[in-house]
Symmetry: C2
Subunit: 407 residues, 2 copies
């Protein structure tokens, strides 16, 4: 009955059961899209820029006219024109008045007229009278020009479906004229807290009672990691009410993922598993990881239903490692975790036959394990990230180089 999986096996189960092929999407303003998942490929409708653009203030030239120039023997040129910003290109005939040594004054961002193939920075020129300048440094063809389509070229793929949009992606979308874009709809994630010892945040715990910490932490995590929290509050611990609530979340509240947190005692955990089994399928019952062992995942009416540990630290870590993966599969994207390497400040023992997540503080490339009794939420205050010790390692040594995943 007790089907305990390794962390890797859990990811396999998630990939197998919850990889979505068709996605719901919505149209939003591009400027609000950072952190959202792009629904469809963005193909450029036009070249960016749409003309050859100068990247400096100076003079557009034919590069060959400047060959051999130097400080002592500058190339003498006639300035035939001044390019105004934002104005249509002038014709080659207007710009080039005789066969050689014509140039045009141009500002950063200005359109380089046809017939010219480089821009010389104003710092490498000297101004003479009568629209004449001297150029003291030879230019190579292409110098200081962004050519038409250099940035994004027409009909090319600019951004890929499934990408998590960034600030610079917004820049590319703005350059291409996309005021709105389609992004994947956020999953609605039900959060149910169970446990007869729980009171709501607004309540005053009597002796033996505590406030519902997990419900709030999970709601905050869901908001942070791209879901919409549908907080159901505290549900008393009996199978019938749990069945009703689950049905309500999936059918009436249209939730895509369900998180049931706690209860913390053995009997309560079995209750969650039993309810999932009676309504659907239990995929596993336990993960070989510390903290986080009493984690359950099942499917009810095609929706993933997690039973999360009651210990807040364990629930937090299971969310980070596994619930986020289910959210990512729902959205059709992949998680890019930020990592670093660090020297371990002290030895860590680990000999559990299961992987271990060690919260650490990270300062000046040194990782210091955060100690304290398991289950204390205050021990997370100083956390910068965590080390994942594989199940086959019997702990880590002082000064060992370890990989940290940032939180």
């Amino acid at each position: 009955m007790l089907n305990v999986l390794t962390p890797t096996e859990v990811i396999d189960v998630i990939n197998k059961n919850f990889t979505t092929a068709t996605f719901q999407y919505e149209k939003i303003l591009t400027v609000d899209s950072v952190g959202r998942i792009l629904h469809n490929d963005i193909v450029a409708n036009e070249d960016v820029p749409s003309f050859n653009r100068s990247t400096v203030d100076g003079y557009a030239v034919k590069a060959s006219d400047t060959f051999g120039s130097s400080e002592s023997i500058p190339a003498v040129m006639t300035v035939t024109y001044e390019i105004l910003m934002g104005k249509a290109n002038i014709t080659q005939t207007e710009a080039i008045t005789d066969n050689s040594n014509s140039c045009v004054a141009i500002s950063t961002g200005g359109a380089v007229p046809e017939g010219f193939d480089a821009v010389v920075m104003v710092e490498h020129t000297e101004s003479y009278s009568d629209n004449m300048i001297g150029i003291s440094k030879p230019a190579a063809p292409g110098n200081n020009i962004i050519f038409k389509g250099d940035d994004v070229s027409k009909e090319n793929l600019a951004l890929k479906a499934g990408a998590e949009l960034t600030v610079h992606d917004v820049g590319i979308l703005a350059a291409l004229g996309f005021e709105h874009i389609n992004v994947r709809k956020k999953p609605r994630i039900a959060i149910i807290s169970t446990g007869d010892e729980l009171v709501d945040i607004t309540g005053t715990p009597s002796d033996g009672e505590i406030r519902d910490v997990n419900g709030y932490m999970l709601a905050a995590s869901v908001n942070k990691f791209g879901g919409i929290e549908v907080s159901y509050g505290i549900v008393r611990d009996d199978e019938k009410s749990l069945i009703n609530v689950l049905n309500d979340c999936i059918k009436n509240l249209d939730c895509d993922i369900v998180l049931i947190s706690g209860g913390s005692s053995a009997g309560e955990k079995d209750k969650t598993a039993k309810v999932i089994e009676s309504m659907g399928e239990l995929l596993f019952h336990g993960i070989a990881i510390k903290p986080g062992k009493p984690t359950i995942l099942g499917v009810v009416q095609n929706k993933p239903v997690f039973g999360l540990p009651g210990h807040p630290v364990a629930a937090y870590m299971v969310f980070e490692l596994f619930v986020r993966e289910v959210i990512a599969r729902f959205l059709g994207t992949t998680i890019k975790r930020k990592t670093t390497i660090a020297k371990l400040a002290e030895a860590i023992s680990a000999n559990h036959g299961r992987a271990e997540i060690v919260p650490v503080k990270f300062v000046d490339n040194v990782a210091t394990p955060i100690k304290g009794k398991s289950g204390l939420i205050s021990k997370l205050i100083d956390i910068d990230g965590y080390i994942l010790i594989p199940r086959d390692r019997e702990g880590l040594s002082k000064d060992e180089i370890v990989e940290i995943t940032y939180l």
Copy 2:
């Protein structure tokens, strides 16, 4: 006139001029507070937990009763009571029926009655008939108990003003019963794009024109990094309209910070500097960094006003390195950038007498510089972070170990 500062000097100027002492704040739901800045210290009104809590399923005992027990000679105990979850503690007299060898059954999270100082895991016990159990492993005092106040103790500082709130901070606030908290008000940040070559995102650029990329990128950055974007759109390049718009942003739109992006040509940059000087004070005119040199910072009516480079990549980097610092000073917090170390895939030349920001792709602990002409926004698509080369280094060697700051 041209007052060019090093990056460190810029940070000094920002600290000196824009460090706030009094803050505006607003009351919000704790569950929505991740990423916001806590306005006041949070002192615990009560102990968390408010009672001695078992962290396992098992039996609460007097540890001394278990001393010397083993698999072969278990300590035989009488189970006098079963603690129900969430119920008030039973009295010592109820629990301890004779002078020794009494214990009570308890679940994870249950209240350990007075007179008991350890909990033995059910795995280390054997059940006999008649409410008798055998304990096969001695327990030390304190084993498997979180004591009253262990997590957060009454009247202690739980969270500090100025902290950027995290998911686990929400957990602590929930444990302490804070449904709402005070957070610093987000700064209103005006975004003005100048440049006669710009058209709006909805427009079609004629030859010589481009869409306003910076306005959109900056708005997205402001949203991401804790501000409220007040997008003013494109302002034509003359001093009078710039003065009117600046006044409007600060007075009528109540903006706390102003970002003027572009124009990209030398003349336009001078215009922004001149306008700031005529209305307030210019703090510097240029940063010795590449890209980002043509950056201006001034004060108008006590508000910071940036003149940002016209090149999107430069504007993006200046926002990351310097505008974010001004936002952080406004909010009374500090930025915690995530870094890692990496091996450099290829040599980078840098010999400019100014610091250089090199965008990189980071895979398998190797950093590969992203090349491409400066000013191309598409070159940021693959960016994972950047290397900052100090001004006194003449480039970096292949295989050199470098520090990367994640974006």
